[in-house]
C-alpha cells in the first residue's frame, strides 16, 4: 500500500505528537534537576535553566548513599527476575506442553492472582516474613515481588510457548536431547523475545515498587531501595525538588540501560523458517 504525501505528513505529525507527550515528562525531570529552586518557582516557567546547575548531581550523590540505594534496588530487581523467570519458565512450559485435566482453566486461574491489589498482600506477607525473620532483608523484597510477577509472566510465557511448534522439541529429542535438554537448547533460544519481554516486565515491576520496600525494609537507611530513598527526601517544611529530580535521573538510568540491552531481543519473528 502506498501512502500519499498528505497521509505521510499526517502520520508523521501524529507520531511526533505522541513522542512529544511521552518525552515531555522526562525532559521536565531533567531540567528540574538542572534548575535552581528559585527558577523552579518562577512564572512563566523556564524551559532551559540558565546556567544549568550540573553540580546538583554531585551534591545529592555526596549527601545521600545513592549508589548503595541503587545497588539495593538492582539486587532486588535482578533477584526478582532470576527467581520469577526460573519459576515461570518451568510453569509456563508445563502448562503449554503437558495436557492435564483442567490445564487451561489452571492457566487462567493463576492469572487471577494478578488481579489482587498488591497492597492487599502486604499484611499477610509481612506476618509471614516476620515469622521467618526476613523483615529488613532484601530477600523479603525478592520474594514479595516474585509473588506479583510470577502469575503474569507464567501466563505470558505459556502463550509464547504455545506458538512454538512442538515438533521443534520432538526433533531435538530424536536428535538425542532429553526433554529438559530440548527445552534449554531449542525452545528457550527460540523464545528469546518472550523471555526478554517478561524479564523486562519483572525488572521494572520490582524496580518501581515502593509499598513493599516501605513495609519490609524498616530499619537503617543502608538497606533502602532507591525509590524508598527518594520519598524520604521530602522535607516537612521545604522540599528541594531539584535534588529529588537529580536522584530520580540516577534511578531512571538503569532502566534505560536494561531497555537498550534487551531491545534487540524484543523483536518478534524468531521462529521464522522453522516450518514449511
Amino acid at each position: 500500500m502506498k501512502r500519499t504525501r498528505a497521509q505521510s505528513i499526517r502520520l508523521y505529525l501524529g507520531v511526533a505528537a505522541v513522542c512529544g507527550i511521552l518525552i515531555f515528562p522526562i525532559y521536565w525531570l531533567f531540567i528540574t534537576a538542572l534548575s535552581t529552586t528559585l527558577e523552579l518557582k518562577s512564572l512563566p516557567p523556564t524551559f532551559w535553566p540558565d546556567p544549568p546547575q550540573w553540580q546538583t548531581f554531585a551534591k545529592v550523590a555526596e549527601e545521600r548513599p545513592i549508589l548503595l540505594w541503587l545497588a539495593n534496588s538492582t539486587i532486588a530487581a535482578l533477584g526478582s527476575v532470576v527467581l520469577s523467570m526460573f519459576v515461570s519458565i518451568l510453569a509456563g512450559y508445563s502448562l503449554s506442553r503437558f495436557r492435564v485435566r483442567g490445564g487451561n482453566s489452571l492457566g487462567l486461574f493463576i492469572l487471577t492472582a494478578k488481579m489482587l491489589p498488591a497492597t492487599l498482600l502486604v499484611i499477610p506477607l509481612f506476618s509471614i516474613f516476620r515469622s521467618v525473620g526476613l523483615i529488613g532483608s532484601i530477600w523479603s523484597l525478592i520474594i514479595a515481588h516474585s509473588t506479583l510477577i510470577i502469575p503474569f509472566t507464567t501466563w505470558m510465557l505459556k502463550g509464547y510457548f504455545d506458538t512454538i511448534p512442538k515438533e521443534l522439541e520432538q526433533a531435538a529429542m530424536v536428535d538425542g536431547c532429553s526433554p529438559l535438554g530440548a527445552m534449554v537448547r531449542v525452545i528457550l533460544p527460540v523464545s528469546a523475545p518472550g523471555l526478554a519481554a517478561t524479564s523486562l516486565y519483572a525488572f521494572v515491576l520490582s524496580w518501581a515498587d515502593y509499598a513493599y520496600a516501605r513495609t519490609f525494609l524498616t530499619n537503617s537507611q543502608n538497606n533502602w531501595t532507591a525509590n524508598l530513598g527518594i520519598t524520604t527526601m521530602r522535607g516537612e517544611y521545604v522540599t528541594d525538588w531539584n535534588e529529588i529530580a537529580a536522584v530520580s535521573v540516577f534511578v531512571a538510568i538503569p532502566i534505560v540501560i536494561i531497555y537498550l540491552f534487551l531491545e534487540r531481543y524484543l523483536v518478534g519473528g524468531l521462529t521464522a523458517g522453522a516450518e514449511k
Binding site: 515438533e167 529429542m173 530424536v174 524468531l270 523458517g273 516450518e275 514449511k276
Partner: protein, 369 residues
C-alpha cells in the same frame, strides 16, 4: 541399518482408540509407505516408532533390540517432520550437525559429515544461512540432511513433501528415491498421496481409522485390492463403484449391472445377493464389447493424450468421495485413450469386459474372488 518389527501396537487417547492392533515387519533396507486418509493414525504410528508417543500396548523392535521403552534419542532413528521443524536459531550447518553434537562427536568429525551430507543434498552453498533465508525446497533438503548425517538405523518421514508445490514434489520424490537406493537405510514413509505411495514404495501399508487394510507391494495393491476401500484408494482417477446384484440367466449365475444382465459362468460371485461392481476408468472402451451400454456424457476433460469422460448414471453409482477424503464425485468416469472428438452431451457407446470387473460384497465391502 536394521529391520523394524512392530508387534501388536495399539494406542488410545482417553477412550478414543486411534490405532487398533498394528503389526508390521519391515525388512532391513526396505522402503515402506504408510498411506491413508487424514486422521487415520499415520503420524501416530510413526511417533510411536520414534518414541515420541508411548504406545498403549505392544512392542517395537529395532534390529533385535526391544526399544518399546527407550527414549527417542536412544533409538538411533532419524525423523523428517511434515513441517520440517528446523531449528530457527541455528544455521544450516548447526541444524545438520545438531544430532551429532548431542552424541558427543568431535567438531572435526561433525564438520566432515555435515559437509558430506550437504553435498549429497546440494545445500553446501547455504551452510551459513538460517532456515528463514531458504526456499521451501531448500528447507526440505536441510531437514533431510539432518536425518541422513546421523547415519541412523532407520528413517521415519512424515509427509515430507506435502508442503511443496507439485513440480518440486515430483522432483524431490525422485531424489528421495535415489537417496534411498544410494544409502539403503530402512525407511518408513508416511503420505496421504497414493501416487507417492505407488511410485516410491517397496511395500505399501494402507490404513483406515487406525486399522491396517492391506499390506502389499504396489502392483499387488493395484491388481488385487482386498476390499472396497483399498480399491478406491489406489489408482488415479479412482475406481468406479456400481450397484450390482447377483441373479440367474439360463440357469447359470449372472450379474445385473447398469440395467444389463450378463452371465458369469466362470466367476465366483459368493453368496451375497447385493454386490458392488468395481471398474477402473481405463478399462472402458468406446465401441462394442462384452458389456456394452450407451451413456450420455456430462463432462469431457481433455488432458491431451487422453480424455476423462464423465457420465451421470444416477443412483447406480456409489459416491465414495467423502470416505476417501476427496472433494466430490462428478459421476462415472471413463479414461478414453483414443483421439478424435467426444462432445459433452453426446451419447457414447461404452463397453467393458467381465475380467476387468471387481466384485465386492455390499455388506462387508470385502472383495469376492
Amino acid at each position: 541399518m536394521a529391520n523394524i518389527s512392530i508387534r501388536d501396537v495399539h494406542k488410545s487417547y482417553g477412550t478414543e482408540n486411534v490405532l487398533k492392533t498394528f503389526s508390521l515387519e519391515i525388512g532391513d533396507g526396505e522402503f515402506v509407505v504408510l498411506v491413508g486418509p487424514s486422521g487415520c493414525g499415520k503420524s501416530t504410528i510413526l511417533k510411536i516408532i520414534a518414541g515420541l508417543e508411548p504406545a498403549s500396548g505392544g512392542q517395537v523392535y529395532l534390529g533385535d533390540r526391544d526399544v518399546t521403552d527407550s527414549a527417542p534419542g536412544d533409538r538411533d532413528v532419524a525423523m523428517v517432520f511434515q513441517n520440517y521443524a528446523l531449528y530457527p536459531h541455528l544455521t544450516v550447518r548447526q541444524n545438520i550437525g545438531f544430532g551429532l553434537k548431542m552424541r558427543g562427536m568431535t567438531a572435526r568429525e561433525i564438520e566432515r559429515r555435515v559437509i558430506d551430507a550437504a553435498r549429497i543434498l546440494a545445500v553446501d552453498r547455504y551452510l551459513d544461512r538460517r532456515p528463514k533465508d531458504l526456499s521451501g525446497g531448500q528447507r526440505q533438503r536441510v531437514a533431510l540432511g539432518r536425518a541422513i548425517v546421523r547415519e541412523p538405523q532407520a528413517f521415519l518421514m512424515d509427509e515430507p513433501l506435502s508442503n511443496l508445490d507439485a513440480k518440486l514434489r515430483v522432483h524431490m520424490r525422485a531424489e528421495i528415491g535415489a537417496l534411498h537406493k544410494r544409502i539403503g537405510v530402512t525407511t518408513v514413509y508416511v503420505t496421504h498421496d497414493q501416487t507417492e505411495a505407488m511410485t516410491m514404495a517397496d511395500r505399501i501399508v494402507i490404513l483406515r481409522d487406525g486399522e491396517i487394510q492391506q499390506i502389499a507391494d504396489p502392483d499387488t495393491m493395484f491388481q488385487k485390492p482386498v476390499n472396497l476401500f483399498v480399491a478406491g484408494f489406489i489408482g488415479s482417477p479412482g475406481m468406479n463403484f456400481l450397484r450390482a446384484s447377483a441373479t440367474e440367466m439360463d440357469g447359470s449365475p449372472a450379474i445385473e449391472i447398469l440395467g444389463m444382465k450378463v452371465s458369469c459362468k466362470n466367476r465366483n460371485l459368493g453368496s451375497a445377493s447385493k454386490l458392488i461392481a468395481g471398474i477402473r476408468p481405463e478399462h472402458f472402451n468406446v465401441g462394442g464389447g462384452e458389456f456394452s451400454v450407451n451413456l450420455r456424457s456430462t463432462l469431457v476433460e481433455s488432458l491431451g493424450s487422453e480424455k476423462y469422460v464423465y457420465f451421470d448414471v444416477g443412483n447406480d453409482l456409489i459416491d465414495r468421495s467423502s470416505d476417501l477424503d476427496e472433494e466430490f464425485s462428478k459421476g462415472l468416469i471413463a479414461r478414453i485413450g483414443q483421439q478424435g472428438r467426444l462432445n459433452e452431451g453426446e451419447v457414447i457407446p461404452l463397453s467393458f469386459s467381465l475380467e476387468n470387473l471387481y466384485f465386492f460384497d455390499a455388506e462387508t465391502e470385502k472383495v469376492i474372488s
